[in-house]
């Protein structure tokens, strides 16, 4: 089976499902059941986090293939197996999901209606997301990828803001339409390769023209999830309307599903098409970085501003992925982690204010630095990290992407790097409006600083931001091997004669 002789990935994946079931079937009066549901959800998510840390500890970083693999017969007759495994690329995305779920649960204090259903949906979301990152069979991946929609649709639609129904339906329709193209591509690949094992599919050559079509299909599916411009229009609505924990999961984890899809499928399976599409993807990335940054600058609502900033940073990730350099891809991966943590922190800061009954329009806010110093410090830290200040996580990712892009094209590097400057502009505008400017709102001066629960959700994130920023190699050394293998395979696919040379050199 695997080095543990024990299906730990499945355990991590389905333990939240068990938690969701227990939470959903809790009896008793509403207030008591709500408290119990919160407790059970938190304990479940912390337990899986511990299991995740155990996996991380036993993970062998130098190995490029899948570890902790599991395989079991599943769909008879059509040659689909149940396969799970992690490599350096998916490990940290799983860790990110595991780490952010308990924080999202802590942030769900504002949920007052149908509390049990909410926590059940949140745990269900955790199961689906982890399963998606851990699946190493394409059909299994697709099942989880789609299933993520169900709890998220309900989270936005039931517990969201005033325009929640519009946002939920838009989110569902966009993603479902994207997935439609993916299933077409999956079925085509399935017929071509004869199996849906991702490892086998990655090493099967595909003709050039077919690659182009498949790439377009993947672009539709993963581009929507990653909110690549111009497929991003669902994002501000969904982020803006979802309740805070939902926004945290959407922005921090679910948006990574798209980037992960590009990295796991589009790049290794379709090297020729990816190389051909690189200029397009660079263009889309640069547009995202610059145009969406300007849109962010024009926002009057804190939550929407952060939402647009999130979309802008996804542009950086896309640029990094398509440089096909070790630096660029590692930068993109690192940026995925960093973005997940930073954006979660920023949305949680917004949630802190919402919990105190304040609307998040920038006009309404101001001068909070005086009476909420710890909150101000946290918001400042996450904002600086979002701008990419050296010493924070945001710097490493953006810097690596810029280096990678520099190797490929100076202008891409320059324009992509402009995002850091523009990011500084809109984040500072937000900081000034929230923390420093005088406000006409008299209630603001009476707001209390963070309470223990809010410390518990913001401190770990702040610590992670610093850890990633100061000692990045504890993360990068795990994805060195798979990324190097990916880049090498890519170069070999583009230059068949060089591949031969590499074989003989060994």
């Amino acid at each position: 089976m695997n080095q543990l002789g024990f299906p730990i990935l499945s355990l991590i994946t389905y333990l939240p499902l068990l938690g969701a079931f227990i939470v959903a079937t809790l009896g008793g009066d509403d207030a008591r059941a709500a408290a119990k549901a919160r407790g059970i959800a938190l304990i479940t998510s912390l337990a899986v986090l511990l299991l995740g840390i155990f996996v991380w500890a036993r993970f062998q970083p130098g190995f490029a293939g899948y570890q902790f693999v599991e395989a079991a017969p599943w769909l008879a007759g059509i040659n689909v197996e149940y396969r799970m495994g992690v490599d350096g690329i998916s490990l940290f995305l799983i860790m990110l999901t595991l780490g952010l779920t308990p924080i999202a649960i802590l942030a769900s204090h504002g949920i007052k209606t149908r509390v049990r259903s909410f926590f059940a949906a949140l745990l269900l979301l955790e199961t689906m997301t982890i399963g998606m990152f851990a699946a190493t069979d394409f059909i299994l991946f697709y099942v989880f990828f789609e299933a993520v929609l169900l709890p998220m649709y309900l989270i936005i639609g039931v517990w969201g803001g005033p325009r929640r129904i519009y946002a939920a339906v838009k989110f569902f329709v966009f993603t479902l339409a994207g997935s439609l193209f993916m299933i077409l591509a999956v079925v085509w690949l399935w017929r071509h390769v004869g199996t849906t094992d991702i490892a086998v599919m990655t090493h099967t050559p595909i003709g050039r023209s077919a690659q182009m079509w498949l790439f377009l299909a993947f672009l539709a599916a993963f581009g929507v999830k990653a909110a690549v411009w111009p497929l991003h229009t669902w994002l501000p609505d969904a982020y803006g309307e979802a309740p805070v924990p939902g926004t945290v999961m959407l922005a921090a984890v679910l948006s990574k599903m798209g980037a992960y899809g590009f990295l796991r499928f589009a790049l290794p399976m379709l090297p020729l098409a990816s190389a051909a599409a690189a200029p397009l993807m660079f263009a889309l990335g640069v547009v995202a970085v610059i145009y969406i940054s300007y849109v962010a600058l024009a926002q009057t609502d804190m939550k929407r501003l952060i939402a647009y900033s999130s979309a802008a940073h996804m542009g950086v990730i896309i640029i990094g992925l398509f440089t096909f350099t070790v630096e660029g891809i590692e930068g993109a991966l690192f940026q995925m982690l960093s973005h997940g943590i930073v954006i979660a922190g920023l949305f949680l800061c917004g949630g802190v204010l919402t919990a105190r009954g304040e609307a998040l329009t920038l006009k309404n806010l101001g001068g909070l630095a005086a009476n909420m110093p710890v909150f101000a410090a946290a918001l400042m830290l996450f904002s600086l990290a979002n701008m990419g200040l050296p010493g924070t996580s945001g710097f490493i990712g953006e810097f690596l992407v810029i280096i990678g892009a520099m190797k490929v094209n100076f202008w891409v590097s320059l324009l992509g790097g402009a995002g850091m400057v523009l990011g500084a502009a809109y984040m500072l505008v937000m900081l000034r409006a929230v923390l420093f400017e005088k406000s006409a709102n008299p209630r603001l001066a009476k707001l209390k600083d963070l309470n223990a629960r809010e410390y518990a959700m913001l401190l770990p994130l702040a610590a992670l931001v610093m850890w990633l920023g100061i000692y990045p190699s504890s993360f990068t050394h795990a994805f060195d091997a798979p990324v190097a293998a990916l880049v090498q395979a890519h170069i070999a696919a583009l230059n068949p004669h060089m591949a031969l040379a590499m074989v003989t050199a060994k």
Partner: protein, 471 residues
């Protein structure tokens, strides 16, 4: 000890007559007791039919095999679920008549006969027996004009279909010289003239009426809407499974040599059904009409497997119809439970706010909607995956792509039902769900949700059934 393969049919027929006598002779209304008796008879017949061996009966008029047992099981399942749903519903609606379970038994007998038919004549006899029983059940609420209209409409269009079927059979007989399936298969393998092909087309049209494949679906929305919900639950399950199984057995059996001739027709039927079912459902405000259009599109997907003309295709159709039957009776259990102040309500907007008032009920309903939309991880996704995969593998790319597109379109109206239940404000104030619908809902939901864990037994059974059919 292995029971005789004829025993299930005998039990249904004789048991049905006995129950009829009890109902007639009893002084009080024995509808409840007769229904229970009918359920018991169906259970016994189902068990016996699973134990019965393969056989050819009455010198080649009937033939039982793994395939017929597979189809019979689905028929029994659908009929039992529908009868369980009817117990409480019919009583509350004031239509608790003992004739209903008896008619259901006769209809099931007809279905079992037509599925096991090995001759055009037995096929027709079984087909008519189930049809006649069904016409009456549609008009069960005879004081309700809509129900009476549904019965009449079903009868007129059904009679037309029967006419086409029997005309087709006579053409085939006239040109091929036999009505026996095995002999027909041998004759038609040599090739067929225009007359035979015309006969095949008529037979196909007659059967397409029964499974309500577009463009022969016109009766479906009206009958679904007009018939009492408990009866609609029956229409949506057992006869659909039976007619589809019959279509498979006729097309792959006696007409198996003419794949090239009928393959395109089946494809066209599949495409029109999928597309029309998806588009026409969008504007519906009545949940039963919506489910009627949904069943039309589901039949399109099920036909997609047959359209490949291969063993894998028949297998995927069988998998599809099994999953469909479970989703369908679960869904109708939810519809049957829609009652306010002692009256059945049927508008989708009546469901507004259900999730707040009855979370479990709303969740189960949502599960069926999502499953029908084909969203993983629910069973409906795998049903679609199997047919799409076999269509792709058979080189029918265009068909599969159309199927995927229409399934996304249809996702929107299923989603609307969920939206109404979960997001819209309202107070459905539904009456307490009775035990019967609650039980059927729970069973359906469990199977639909947990199918993902153990899909292989069903798929293997369908594979064995397809093999038994096609050899």
């Amino acid at each position: 000890m292995t029971p005789s393969p004829l025993l299930p049919a005998l039990i249904l027929g004789l048991g049905g007559m006995a129950l009829l006598l009890i109902g007639v002779l009893a002084k009080a209304n024995r509808a409840q007791g007769v229904t229970m008796g009918a359920i018991l008879l169906l259970l016994i017949a189902a068990g016996l039919s699973l134990l019965a061996p393969d056989a050819v009966l009455f010198s080649g008029l009937l033939k039982t095999s793994l395939f017929t047992r597979y189809a019979d099981t689905l028929i029994y399942l659908g009929a039992i679920a529908a009868l369980i749903l009817s117990v409480d519903f019919n009583q509350r609606e004031g239509i608790a008549r003992f004739e209903y379970p008896v008619l259901v038994l006769f209809a099931v007998l007809g279905m079992v006969v037509m599925v096991s038919a090995a001759d055009m004549m037995t096929l027709y006899v079984g087909f008519e027996l189930q049809s006649l029983a069904m016409y009456i059940t549609a008009a069960l609420a005879r004081d309700n004009p809509r129900s009476a209209e549904a019965g009449l409409k079903y009868f007129v269009l059904g009679a037309l279909a029967s006419g086409l079927l029997v005309y087709g059979i006579s053409l085939v007989y006239g040109f091929a010289g036999t009505t026996n399936f095995a002999a027909l298969a041998a004759v038609l393998r040599e090739g067929a003239g225009a007359g035979t092909v015309a006969g095949v087309v008529f037979v196909l049209v007659g059967l397409a009426f029964k499974i309500s494949a577009a463009p022969f679906h016109m009766w479906t929305p009206d009958v679904y809407e007009g018939a009492p919900s408990s009866v609609t639950a029956l229409f949506a399950t057992a006869p659909k499974a039976a007619a589809l199984a019959l279509l498979l057995s006729v097309m792959a059996g006696p007409f198996g040599g003419l794949v090239a001739q009928w393959q395109l027709l089946i494809q066209i039927l599949a495409i029109i059904s999928m597309a029309w079912g998806a588009l026409a459902a969008i504007g519906q405000s009545n949940i039963k009409r919506l489910l009627a259009y949904s069943s039309i599109s589901h039949m399109g997907y099920a036909l997609m497997g047959l359209a490949t003309g291969t063993l894998a295709g028949v297998q995927s159709s069988l998998v599809y119809v099994a999953i469909y039957v479970v989703m369908s009776f679960g869904c109708f259990a939810c519809v049957v439970a829609m009652r306010r102040n002692g009256r059945a309500v049927e508008r989708i907007s009546d469901l507004a706010g259900l999730a707040g008032e009855h979370p479990a009920y709303a969740f189960v309903f949502a599960v069926f909607m999502w499953a029908m939309a084909g969203i993983p991880p629910l069973s409906g996704f795998f049903a679609k995956l199997y047919v799409f995969a076999t269509a792709f593998n058979a080189g029918l790319d265009a068909l599969a792509i159309i199927g995927i597109v229409t399934s996304v379109i249809s996702a929107f109206y299923y989603l609307r039902v969920i939206k109404v239940m979960y997001f819209d404000q309202g107070q459905p104030q539904f009456d307490r769900t009775a035990a019967g619908p609650g039980f059927v809902m729970a069973v359906g939901a469990l199977v639909t949700i947990f199918f993902i864990i153990l899909p292989s037994p069903l798929v293997a059974a369908a594979g064995a059934a397809a093999k038994a059919l096609m050899g």
